[in-house]
């Protein structure tokens, strides 16, 4: 599913990139510190790039500069080979379009009236194009509805139609899905990706959701403190090593031992609700090859695995684990040298994650490591989960905290 | 902004209500403080001389000077511009009294106009200053008040001459204009058109000058008036008591058919003597009469009583 636009960078040698920054620096009037601090990057024409980074990293400012909205930057920023500051507003308007972070809250215009405004002269907006695009996005029913009465997802899709009507070469998006639920985020990006592929639009989007970034973008620019930490394909940028220092603080990395020898073995982690993050992180640090499952898409552990390119068995959001996925998961377990059962709440939906305890066909080579816990607190199945857990614990080595876990791991 | 516009609105509402209820016309608040001032006055005795008094209203100042007590007046308001000598006297405020200044003068009594200020007497009495409140709500009461002040101050002149003058004027007018009463629209401001109602002092002047205020049935001092009513009542005279352009008034829509306009009877008057209920009230009556009845003019000498 991942869009890989690496191919287009070959063409980039001939054609200038959509954006190329050299020592780009920006500082707000009257401030002492640079908000953008001498950065260099290039976004090839036709690529789908995400700009990620923690709050206050300078993402929005960078996008504003790319939009041409913030002028007076130092260094250079080329837009298709021309210095952006020298491109007129009219030319820019023809080349690029923008979706802001905020939706048009409380705007009492119908979608049609709003979309008409996508040209400075509304009479130039073709009605049939509006109809076509609404049709294509399956939102024709919104045509005569007031934006104020739409859901967040609907309003966003209308905004997407708005920018598509402008037929831009470049599309800049500032956190376009931040306020949407998972389903709407997905819907938005599916459409965007399709349009991107069909029209060859260059997309640069600020994203908070690293999963989305990893999943949909071919290129990721990670910035922090006004500097670019890393630019490249998602698997290069979005891993625990790079992200850890930015999002989770540098402390966790001080005892990392990168590159010491080969992979020590395969470990399958059964987790959920964020219980697996630390454990997976320690395992990666110790050069284990980690897999995970079964996780519902959207779960925080799912996001973490997605962001760190950890292979996993995925289930649709809010669905119970299917038979098919259960078997897949079992295969993962069987192929591992250890299975770690983390400390996570168990309901009817994910009970199947513990069912492997029944399956006595489990090879003896698989070590079971289990977090010690109070069953009653985590059991939302009325006893079924506790029964499984008791079985598992009998066979497992139990750890009480992360340090004990480390010792267990190292003893493997 | 929200705040300031609300303030503005409230303020305007208050203003309008004040205007409608006759805030500017002090004759309104009758009866208030009667007992208090009465008690205070009875306690006044001016055994020792020289007496030092303060006037807190222009009309009162005129009265004090008329009765010959001008030399006793040691404090007046900035609005007291008549007679000329009053202008040189120490000022104790305008519509608001500067009580510090007033107390500094240490007057034996403050002479005030009844109803001009809400709690002037109360405040002064609380400082131990005696007050004399003069009722100036009608022509008759002006004369009474003149006598009252003259009596208290043992002043050389009382109202007898004024009363005679007024009597002469009234009988002369009655003699000259037996069966005629001319209707008057008395405008004190043009946009919005404001006039005086039956409760006003000016209404008495109009009546005394053998005129009739077309709005004398409205029991108010001032009112923002309906021009339709003006046209319907078709006054014979329009009196403008401000610096109006008479041509502009004549050009008002619908005014061209008014008798007053057809006969070019739009007149401007000096508002000051009309609004000041003092000894010059007779001048105001005479002035208005002569404007309403130019054919039967009365000269000031004709009404001066023979000594």
């Amino acid at each position: 599913m991942r869009t890989d636009n690496k191919g287009s960078s070959n063409a980039g040698n001939a054609a200038p990139p959509a954006f190329r920054a050299a020592a780009l620096t920006y500082r707000f009037e009257g401030e002492d510190e640079n908000i953008i601090n001498g950065i260099n990057f290039a976004i090839e024409a036709g690529s789908f790039a995400a700009i990620v980074g923690p709050n206050g990293a300078g993402k929005s400012t960078l996008l504003d500069i790319m939009l041409g909205y913030r002028k007076g930057y130092a260094g250079s920023l080329e837009f298709f080979g021309r210095e952006l500051a020298k491109v007129t507003a009219g030319e820019l308007a023809r080349e690029r379009a923008y979706i802001p972070q905020q939706s048009e809250d409380g705007l009492r215009l119908s979608a049609y009236e709003y979309l008409k405004l996508s040209n400075a002269d509304p009479s130039k907006t073709s009605c049939s194009e509006i109809d076509e695009l609404l049709e294509k996005l399956n939102i024709s029913y919104l045509k005569n509805r007031s934006i104020a009465s739409m859901s967040g997802g609907e309003a966003r899709l209308v905004q997407l139609v708005f920018v598509l009507l402008r037929k831009p070469r470049v599309l800049l998006l500032d956190e376009p899905v931040s306020y949407l639920d998972y389903k709407n985020q997905q819907a938005f990006f599916e459409i965007l990706k399709k349009e991107h592929a069909e029209r060859g639009i260059t997309v640069a989007a600020i994203l908070h959701d690293l999963n989305m970034a990893a999943y949909y973008c071919g290129e990721i620019i990670l910035i922090n403190d006004g500097r670019i930490l890393k630019q490249g394909a998602p698997f290069e940028v979005l891993n625990y090593r790079t992200l850890g220092s930015v999002f989770f603080g540098a402390a966790g990395f001080s005892n990392a031992r990168p590159g010491s020898g080969g992979v020590r073995g395969r470990v399958h982690v059964i987790c959920g609700g964020g219980s697996g993050e630390k454990i997976i992180a320690r395992l990666i640090e110790r050069n284990f090859s980690v897999s995970c499952g079964v996780l519902n898409a959207g779960d925080s552990d799912w996001r973490f695995c997605r962001a760190n390119s950890v292979p996993m068995v995925e289930e649709e959001p809010y669905r119970p684990i299917s038979e098919e996925n259960y078997i897949k998961n079992l295969e993962y377990i069987k192929a591992s040298s250890a299975v770690v059962v983390c400390d996570f709440p168990i309901g009817a939906g994910n009970l199947a994650n513990l069912k492997f305890a029944e399956d006595l066909a489990l090879p003896a080579a698989v070590n079971i490591i289990c977090a010690g816990r109070d069953f009653n607190e985590l059991d939302y199945t009325g006893g079924a989960a506790s029964a499984y857990l008791e079985k598992i614990e009998k066979k497992a080595r139990v750890f009480k905290n992360i340090d004990e876990f480390e010792k267990l791991i190292d003893s493997l | 902004m929200k705040n300031s516009s609300i303030l503005k609105k409230t303020w305007r509402a208050v203003l309008a209500l004040l205007a409608l209820s006759g805030f500017f016309y002090p004759a309104f608040a009758q009866g208030e403080g009667e007992a208090l001032s009465g008690a205070a006055e009875s306690a006044i005795s001016f055994e020792t001389r020289p007496v030092c008094i303060v006037s807190s209203s222009p009309a009162v100042t005129e009265i004090l000077f008329y009765i010959g007590a001008g030399s006793m007046v040691k404090g007046v308001t900035t609005l007291c511009d008549y007679p000329q000598e009053a202008k040189d006297i120490q000022k104790i405020g305008d519509l608001n009294i500067n009580y510090e200044k007033l107390l500094e003068i240490k007057p034996d009594a403050v002479f005030s106009m009844k109803g001009l200020r809400a709690n002037e007497e109360e405040i002064l009495n609380s400082f131990g200053v005696k007050t004399v409140s003069l009722d100036l709500s009608s022509i008759e009461s002006i004369f009474d008040s003149i006598d009252k002040a003259a009596g208290l101050l043992k002043a050389p002149k009382n109202s007898s001459q004024l009363r005679k003058k007024m009597k002469n004027l009234s009988s002369l007018i009655r003699k000259k204009q037996k069966n005629i009463v001319r209707s008057v629209y008395f405008e004190i401001w043009g946009d919005p058109p404001m006039t005086v109602g039956g409760a006003s002092f000016i209404n008495q002047i109009i009546n005394a000058a053998q005129g009739v205020n077309i709005f004398n049935e409205v029991n108010l001092d001032n009112l923002s008036v309906s021009l339709e009513k003006v046209i319907e009542n078709n006054p014979e005279f329009i009196v403008a008591a401000y610096d109006a352009k008479t041509e502009e008034i004549a050009l008002r829509p619908g005014f061209s058919n008014l008798i007053a306009v057809k006969d070019s009877n739009i007149i401007k008057i000096d508002y000051n003597i009309y609004v000041r209920p003092g000894p010059r009230v007779i001048e105001a009556v005479l002035d208005l009469y002569n404007r309403l009845y130019p054919e039967g003019r009365i000269e000031a000498e004709e009404i001066t009583p023979a000594e």
């Binding site: 048009e104 009492r108 405004l117 | 929200k2 516009s5 709005f215 339709e228 319907e232 829509p253 619908g254």
Partner: protein, 336 residues
């Protein structure tokens, strides 16, 4: 709120126009003077005698009605333009100092014994233009933004208001200044009304031509920037024109508050934010509202005209609250 908003504008438009016509008819036939229906019919058929007394009164009613309509229409129209240009729904046409400037200068005129209503109007107009010009110049010299404009407007408003208080206090014409500030539709001359109509309608048509830009000013600033529209240019242009309309009206009628704030709001609730409809609708709605307010102010008490500004608040506020309450219910339904 119904989900389909297509039909609503026309429904409201027709309703407002019918109310306007009905209001005009009422306003024409009712007043302090009781006029026989025959006279009214005669006047309408242009058969009444020009020198008749009723003819004069009816003519006056027509002029007054015309003045009321253009006053309300102009203030409401300017209110919409102000709100959209400043991107602030609490903005009203008096936000940038027009009323305070007009009030101060009219007070100065009255103090200097210019008692002719045309002279006072000229002063008030000058004051309104000067103060709104000062607000714009000051905020332009700093950093032009709606926020800056509004702040400067508030500062200048209160400065002028305080200055006005000083002038009034020192002036011997305090009473007359009070009278002027109350606002009135009383004294109107036919040619004055014609010129006002020409200007206001002309300016309104000009802005209506750019209604889509006003739509744009209402949506996300950066989105509009990305389209290549110079927002500040249009903002200033619209504000200047709206201020001229407003200054012209205020200089003639004094300060009639509330219309410029609530009519645009009410209009938005009814027909939405599309200025192509919102602008003319507010125009009609504002004019209609003032015709009715004027009718009340003229007929509520014998011989007396209540100050029109009081009536606009008295009538407008409850109506507005009613609208807001209705909208809230509809909103809850849409969300639930």
């Amino acid at each position: 709120m119904t989900t389909d908003i297509r039909f609503k504008p026309y429904f409201y438009f027709i309703t407002a126009l019918s109310l306007c016509v009905a209001g005009a008819a009422l306003s024409f036939s009712l007043g302090q003077a009781a006029i026989p229906p025959g006279e009214i019919a005669g006047f309408l058929m242009l058969k009444s005698q020009a020198d008749g007394r009723y003819h004069a009164i009816l003519k006056m009613r027509v002029l007054r009605m015309a003045a009321a309509f253009i006053t309300g229409a102009g203030l409401a129209f300017a209110g919409v333009v102000y709100q959209s240009s400043l991107k602030n729904y609490l903005a009203d046409p008096f936000m940038l100092g027009i009323s305070a400037g007009a009030a101060l200068f009219s007070a100065l005129a009255i103090t200097m014994k210019f008692h002719s209503s045309l002279a006072i109007s000229a002063f008030a107009f000058t004051g309104a233009i000067l103060s709104v010009g000062a607000v714009m110049a000051i905020s332009y010299a700093r950093k032009f933004s709606s926020y800056n404009l509004i702040l400067t407007g508030i500062a200048l408003n209160s400065f002028f208001s305080s200055f006005l208080t000083v002038v009034m206090y020192l002036s011997k014409d305090m009473q007359n200044i009070f009278f002027w500030l109350m606002g009135s539709l009383d004294v109107r001359y036919a040619d004055q009304i014609i010129y006002t109509y020409l200007f206001v309608v002309g300016a309104a048509c000009y802005i209506l031509k750019y209604s889509h830009i006003l739509d744009l000013l209402r949506i996300n600033e950066k989105t509009v920037f990305s389209i290549g529209v110079d927002q500040n240019y249009y903002k200033i242009k619209f504000l200047v024109i709206a201020s001229l309309i407003c200054a012209l009206i205020v200089s003639q009628t004094g300060i009639i508050g509330f219309v410029g704030l609530i009519v645009p709001h009410a209009a938005r609730i009814m027909v939405g934010d599309s200025h192509r409809i919102l602008l003319p609708f507010s125009f009609v709605l504002g004019g209609t509202m003032l015709i009715y307010c004027d009718l009340i102010s003229r007929t509520a008490a014998d011989s007396i005209n209540f100050p029109i500004g009081i009536i606009t608040s008295l009538v407008g506020a409850p109506f507005f609250i009613f609208l807001l309450a209705g909208q809230r219910k509809a909103g809850a339904r849409a969300n639930g």
